[in-house]
Amino acid sequence: MTSNQVLSEVEFNVVGKRPIRPDGVDKVTGRAQYGADTNMTGALQAKVLRSPYPHARIKSIDVSKAEAFPGVKAVITAKDLPFAALSKEELGDGYTALKYASDHMMASDKVLFKGHPIAAIAAVNAHVAESAMALIQVDYEELESVVDVREAMKDGAPLVHEDLRTNDMGQISDKPSNIAAHMSYSTGDIDKGFAEADLVMEREYTTATVHQGYIEPHNSTAFWNTDGQLNIWTSTQGSFAVRAAVANVLRLPVSKIKVTPMEIGGGFGGKITAYLDAITAVLSKKAGVPVRTLMTRSEVFEASGPAPASWMRVKIGVKNNGKMTAVETDIAMDAGAYPGSPAMQAIVCAFACYDVTNGKVDGYDVVVNKPKTAAYRAPGSPQAAFGVESLIDEICGELKLDPIEFRLLNAAKEGTRRIEGLVAKRIGLVECLEAARDHDHYKSKLSGENTGRGVACGYWPNRGFQSSVVMTVHFDGTVSLLMGSVDIGGTRASIAQQTAETLGIAYEDVKPTIVDTDSIGYTFITGGSRTSFATGLAAITAADDVKEQMITRAAKIWDTSEDDIEYVNGTVSHKSDEELKFSFKDLARQLATTGGTISGRSNIDPTGEGNGYAVHLVDLKVDPETGKTDVTRYTAVQDAGKAVHPGYVEGQMQGGAVQGIGWALNEEYFFDPTGKMLNPTFLDYRMPTTLDLPMIDTVIVEVANPGHPYGVRGVGEPAIVPPMAAIGNAIHGATGHRMRSLPMTPGKILEAGWENGNSSGG
């Protein structure tokens, strides 16, 4: 049926194996405690009143009736946040940043998107809070809204923020604009490059607003104690990110806030922003008891952080043999209500698969009256790849070139300087392309009518950032591993494996625990495809610390110098006396009577992350009468550097591919002309179901990352980059229509047929 192939050169004892995850039993028996599962004595339930308008001025809010409603214990508005009491003079240059952060959590003067929080109510239960919400009277002055990213860029467009000015690489424009930032990189001479080309093609592409679609809604439980300590329990990708966001908005020192990360039911970048925590905390302070706030699914769609809609123009020049001579793109990304779209990531990723001599990329970060966008798996890169990889396919068709050979001819490799200026280290794009070319999928003949095959590749730089790990050796030889990285999909397993590998002990003897922000050093989010790499490195470093201390202890026991002792594969032995030897467990047993236990620690901020590349192949069939696409075969190839737990690496590749399939075919926010989302349910926001998919074949390519002892690269993100273009290219193969707008719905495919002169069929 399908194959899972791992191309590995190095064998390890634990790394590369497929053990059962440490948190597995709790998660298959319903015992794992997610954010919504908190059950504090006396806890209240809260609901958030949200704006029905995408853009309006708040003239007045009257909460008196809600406060008087039986069962209501606290009601807050933006007036209860510290920002309300701080003046522009006091805040100085930080005024705007705090205003945006505070207003995003609860609007003070204007609502900027439908779903924007206005007030919150804590009551004895959620039904009572909901009933009381209807009693809050808000007087709005509706304002003209702007929804489309290109409309928002025009002179005269309604301004989302009256005072926002364009930041053009550090230079601030003199008049207000919805364009929050313009960024630009270039290399070589594009005019010369295009002049040298035998073929120059230029196209425009658009993508719709989409959502990460994690199944667990946002949640927060907070208890602000009378001693001033604030405790927060929440589902987040980064407990320290929540702490920082809450500290900022509530003007608290971080030491006053302890964030305990609960199990998290999916994130994909969407659970980095702290939407509920600060307001839940303020409700708790007012009510004097713990408060829990849960979002509904429609609140998740309307008021969390979807991924941006985008517009892009791509221009590529090539020689007749396919060699690229010049590339150019403009990408405008919709940031939602506040600046911060991944336009920068988009332009950096756009041509990162290719060795570009002459290139220019420009990005625009644009605010509109939609929820503030957030990261979504390789933020910015999928939109950019849809354009670039689609146009490359069109060029290959024009020049009758094999799409994989074209990419091999132009592929980035070690030493390639990217447009933003960095030079690639050892990367695995070529190996991925070769694996795809040599795969049975690509070699098999495509059969049947209305079928098509598509290829595309994708890039994500991956990142390092800070991670902290502490591990303690118990007297029975097991190791407790404490970390600050939350586990979204196998983090405990992957870090425990790297620990066990380094210590030379059994995987089962490592017990990982994810701890709160008081119990471990600063740890950046689980995101950016960094965790197996950076927290893995932290675990390796801490394990090395343990090893050194174990050697010291053995030296003490044997009354010899540490230089005489070596630690190999979990055995501590005297280099010159074969009699003197401890297994890890034996030495652990001796710790109790030779000075006590040993703890290893590490706090690191590593560089050396390895860039991630993916190549996807898809076969599909389009029903010409309905325009409906059925994906019939899918192969995802990706360089993992070294797959720590191949099962979860395959899972990342498959999950990313399927999110991409959804993005390609059916997922989109429908907005009315004013910016109200029309489909905030899983019924009409159509994520793929089991029945919409084949098995997803995976090929893990392992080109070791020189920046990690086991060669690990991030794997979470590259897999969502290629699917949209791969599917679009295959749809072209099946129908002859070039789809340049996501999603490529049945309706759009039918329309493309009608535009190309097919009769409506009657």
Partner: protein, 80 residues
């Protein structure tokens, strides 16, 4: 990316021991560039500096070798 200030020059040679000095040299050559790179004495939030291809974690204090290649690049976060 800052060629409007450097008169189009993309590559500039200068003597410096750390990033702070690199920026000072640049600002001497191209007045105004410091404000575009630095805010409150630190690199701007959306900016990272790469030395010989590695993102530098010490920011302004990061040491620079005699033949180092220094790049001002976007700071990129991530998703999943």
């Amino acid at each position: 990316m800052l060629q409007s200030l450097t008169g189009g020059a993309r590559q500039i040679d200068c003597d410096a021991k750390n990033i702070r000095q690199v920026i000072e040299r640049l600002d001497e050559l191209y007045p105004g560039i410091r404000d575009r790179l630095v805010e409150d004495g630190e690199l701007r939030e959306n900016l990272a500096v790469a030395i010989d291809g590695d993102i530098a974690i010490m920011g302004m204090l990061e040491k620079v070798g005699a033949n180092s290649e220094v790049h001002f690049v976007p700071a990129i976060g991530g998703g999943s």
